[in-house]
Amino acid sequence: MTTLAQEFSKGIFKENPTFRLLLGMCPTLAVTLTAINGFGMGISALFVLLCSNIVISALKDVIPAKVRMPAYILIIATFVTIVDMVLNAYAPALHEALGIFIPLIVVNCIIMGRAEAFARKNTIGRSVIDALGMGIGFTLSLTVLGIIRELFGAGSFFNIQIMGTAFEPMAVLATPPGAFITLGIMLGLVNYMFKRLGIE
């Protein structure tokens, strides 16, 4: 049996959804133009993951195994709709920037993956810890990618200009190819880091 601390930290390091499991790649590439967008996406996914993990683990004995997939989809879609409406009401700029990727949280494989692999077999408490770990791991990865792309692509850090006037922004980082290449190189670096630290 893994301890609660291990359950929490696995999502951030060993089984980081972005860099280790390669899940949820679409929003990772699409919304990391700026750090704040990446962070906003991460928090939205964290909220949906947390709520759906709680509900699914609470209902695990009630949902028949044969129709569990449609049931999970319905639960997840409900929370996604809530996020969509809340962002639209209180953070319209972020809602605009994330665009179609908010409704697409429904098909984010991290959330469905945790429901199928974890929440339906574990207690509510453990599912909460799991969701927090995975969600924070996802948010951190997206924020780091956003910081890198924003810092070198626009010279700012969370929308504050910090690179000075002499810095020439690398425009490619703000384009789709920049997203692919940054993530590819980051993946390589993370692989190198893990090998160096001896974690497999």
Partner: protein, 194 residues
């Protein structure tokens, strides 16, 4: 909304390619695109399901959701319709056309959680296309997806033999390759946008 059909086709396949410039369907793009045959099969299955789901969701959106002011239910309705539709297609194919089922069958379950299908259904109603434009848009987007998959598969079959650093092997080098491909596709943006 009055948009030239040819413009929709060109933009959906090249200028605004669903994978390389809109970042949808990255999971199958990285997961399935290691063999030419499987990417082609996946691509055809996607074109098929994408067109059907775009039409069905368009009808539901136009005649139910908009009519009764229920637009906030879009996400929930669309994903359920798509999941149901994929099941239906799977059952109908199994019964009526076993050959086609054997060719596409293994890809169908994967498609439910493929974000391109839901993405196209949503983008489509957001753009306000009519039914003809919807069909054309869905087919061209599917063709764009297939094109990106097939090009990537061709590259990856060669990449397997290349001497790549062990840290970059697999997904990392595929992503960098996709970046370079995406750079090439960006050139089409200068020709035409919607």
């Amino acid at each position: 909304m009055d948009v030239n059909l040819l413009a929709i086709i060109f933009v959906a396949i090249f200028a605004n390619n669903i994978v390389l410039s809109q970042f949808l369907g990255i999971c199958p793009y990285l997961g399935v695109s290691d063999r030419l045959e499987t990417s082609l099969g996946m691509g055809i299955a996607v074109i098929f399901v994408m067109t059907m789901s775009a039409v069905v969701t368009w009808v539901i959106d136009t005649f139910l959701l908009v009519q009764f002011d229920l637009v906030y239910l879009r996400t929930i309705t669309f994903i359920l319709v798509i999941a149901g539709l994929v099941q239906l297609v799977e059952m109908v194919l199994k019964k009526t056309n076993p050959t086609l089922f054997r060719a596409l069958g293994i890809y169908l379950p994967l498609i439910t959680t493929n974000c391109t299908i839901l993405g196209v259904a949503l983008l489509n109603v957001q753009a306000g296309y009519n039914i003809i434009q919807t069909i054309v848009y869905a087919i061209s987007t599917g063709v764009g997806f297939t094109l990106a998959m097939v090009i990537m598969a061709g590259i990856r079959e060669r990449l397997d033999l290349a001497d790549v650093s062990s840290y970059l092997r697999g997904a990392a080098v595929s992503l960098v390759t996709a970046g370079i491909l995406s750079l090439a596709f960006m050139g089409f943006k200068g020709m035409m946008t919607l």
